[in-house]
């Protein structure tokens, strides 16, 4: 296997991933093939630009937060022109079960007429709402249009539509949340449910499909979104693929989120 070098942002971030992929990657903080960037602070796009300019062939961004859509699109354009990749490693949207369900149960997802996303968080309600939108995106849905968003001390309740479907987004604020996102796609005959855990552990997501014949589950994948993103970037570099499509979709979802929050009732 082609071993790639990767730089880590410090404070121990990424060490557990390195331990789980020791043949694919080794740490090298100077001139790495891949740079791991913390997506938390506002302005993470600048950190990604810096990493690309200093020679990384690809950058993996850990849980990027809402930032300027224009800056994201500029970054996508720059990276694309340079033939480099930027991969977004998002706790919920990047859980490997999301892509698995999208490819395996896509027809069932498309046959539904009501979507629900729900999560309990300790704080950062708007970020949680945005991350719910990112899950919808990675399941293959277009951005929803929210007609009503209500926020308060208890969280957020959003009501919208998506290609003829109703959409409910709910974020509850409580210290007892375990970081799980629940997604339910309800159809007249079928239902797809997903429970996406936090990335604090490699606890597997749960995915189930209910049809008139019964119910089935997808096999458990003992892997966080972050480990899956490392494997993905390894494949892309090995295959000589450059990809910035994550950034383009992310920018569009930022705009959807901010538009919804702009006309909320407080």
């Amino acid at each position: 296997m082609n071993q790639l070098t990767i730089s880590l942002p410090g404070d121990g971030v990424g060490l557990e991933l390195l331990a789980s992929l020791p043949i694919s990657f080794r740490r090298a903080d100077a001139e790495p093939d891949v740079a791991l960037v913390d997506g938390g602070p506002d302005g993470w796009t600048e950190s990604v630009s810096d990493a690309l300019q200093t020679g990384a062939r690809a950058v993996v961004v850990l849980d990027p937060v809402i930032t300027s859509a224009d800056a994201i699109r500029q970054l996508a354009s720059d990276a694309s022109q340079a033939g480099k990749s930027v991969i977004l490693s998002e706790t919920w949207a990047g859980n490997p079960i999301v892509a698995d369900v999208r490819s395996t149960w896509g027809p069932h997802l498309r046959a539904t007429d009501f979507l629900e996303v729900f999560s309990v968080v300790g704080a950062e309600v708007e970020e949680a709402f945005f991350r719910q939108l990112r899950v919808l995106r990675n399941l293959g849905f277009a951005p929803p249009t929210f007609s009503d968003v209500v926020t308060g001390r208890g969280g957020l309740l959003g009501t919208g539509t998506l290609e003829g479907r109703a959409v409910s987004a709910c974020v509850a604020v409580s210290a007892i949340g375990d970081g799980t996102l629940s997604f339910v796609a309800n159809g007249p005959d079928d239902q797809v449910t997903l429970k996406l855990p936090s990335s604090a552990t490699a606890r597997p997501a749960l995915a189930a499909l209910v049809t008139v014949e019964g119910a089935q589950q997808r096999p458990t994948l003992w892997e966080t979104a972050h480990r899956a993103s490392w494997r993905r970037v390894h494949r892309m570099i090995t295959d000589g693929i450059a990809d910035v499509s994550d950034l383009q979709a992310f920018a569009e979802d930022v705009e959807t989120c901010l538009a919804a929050l702009d006309h909320r009732a407080k």
């Binding site: 007429d113 009501f114 604020v173 409580s174 007892i176 007249p188 209910v210 008139v212």
Partner: protein
């Protein structure tokens, strides 16, 4: 000595819910008389439990063997039938929800109940569910500090459960609604709130401050049938979700979130004798699981009615609480209907 029950109405709810529940309580009740405007239906349903039958309320109330009355007729008849039952000197009344169609009707019931001393309970079965009642004992100050409440009811059509509960002889028929008609949309929303959400609206109200106005912020009709409604009561937010589809898996949950605690209740579907809800209260110190218990809220309400009739009841909602529940449900239905009247279907 068991109490004689008279039942006004003999539709699927009576056939598939109340008669099976009463069959489990044979040490407390026997069915004395069943009334339906159709003599064939009345005779057929009464015949399966060896009861007499009537085709008018007056006939049933004149039956001295009837000591308590369950009112399971269409809701527009409820108030007058409750009042007539109390005036007839029966010992207690169980009225299906809603027990009146207006606040004025509800207050008339309260006045006559005070005059006659006949107790009335409303068939809000989840308020009598042992799982819910057990959770009430451990949720502490959650009603005072709740911030977000979710009522989520996703069900197959009733017939799926009715046919497991009994063999039903009549069912009402529903035609498709014209969703281009604003009144039809409003009617669907109102029907959703007063027909399905109403089961849990008294539970929602438990976690809302009494002195704060409730505002309907958003309402959406769901396909093929259902509602999605957002309420705000001061700082508290409420999501009401209900839908009926062809899926076989029922989901009937009620959740309340506080800053450092959470209540989750998973109810069993109506009709089937599947026992009580399972509840869990989570706090920073742990998770308390409650239930399941061996009977559901319907059986619970009949047990409570028996205790009321015998003067041994403890607890249970007072009539002014029931009026509050009714007014709350009517306000939510009215507000949500007004929104979808001007809107459409997702």
């Amino acid at each position: 000595m068991t109490l004689g029950v008279g039942i006004l109405g003999a539709g699927p709810v009576v056939q598939a819910i109340h008669l099976p529940a009463l069959a489990r309580l044979a040490d407390l009740f026997h069915v004395a008389n069943i009334m339906d405007i159709s003599p064939e239906v009345a005779a057929s349903v009464a015949g399966r439990v060896g009861a007499g039958w009537s085709t008018s309320m007056e006939q049933l109330l004149a039956d001295d063997g009837v000591e308590v009355v369950a009112i399971c007729s269409p809701s527009r008849f409820h108030a007058d039938q409750v009042i007539a039952t109390m005036r007839a000197g029966k010992r207690a009344v169980l009225c299906e929800k809603p027990f009146a169609t207006s606040r004025e009707e509800a207050e008339r019931i309260a006045t006559v109940s005070a005059e006659t001393g006949v107790p009335v309970i409303v068939g809000a079965m989840h308020t009598f569910d042992p799982g819910w009642l057990a959770a009430n004992g451990v949720w502490g100050d959650l009603p005072d500090i709740a911030t977000l409440i979710r009522s989520r009811i996703l069900l197959p059509p009733n017939a799926r459960f009715e046919d497991f509960a009994t063999e039903v002889v009549t069912r009402p028929e529903f035609g498709p609604a014209d969703l281009t008609d604003p009144d039809a949309r409003a009617g669907l929303m109102s029907g959703g709130i007063l027909g399905l959400a109403i089961h849990d609206l008294p539970l929602v109200r438990t976690f809302l401050p009494a002195a704060v106005d409730v505002v309907v912020e958003a309402a959406e009709l769901l396909k093929p049938w259902g509602y999605l409604v957002t309420l705000r009561a001061g700082e508290r937010m409420v999501q009401l979700l209900g839908a009926v589809s062809n899926r076989w898996n029922p989901e009937w949950t009620f959740e309340v979130f506080g800053p450092e605690s959470k209540l989750e209740v998973a109810f069993t579907p109506s009709y089937v004798q599947a026992g009580s809800a399972e509840a869990a209260v989570t706090t920073s110190t742990g998770r308390f699981r409650l239930g399941p218990f061996d009977h559901n809220g319907y059986e619970g309400e009949w047990r409570h009615l028996h205790a009321l009739a015998n003067g041994t009841a403890e607890g249970g909602p007072a009539l002014d609480e029931l009026i509050g529940d009714l007014t709350f449900a009517a306000d939510v239905a009215e507000g949500a209907s007004a929104i979808v009247r001007d809107g459409g279907l997702a």
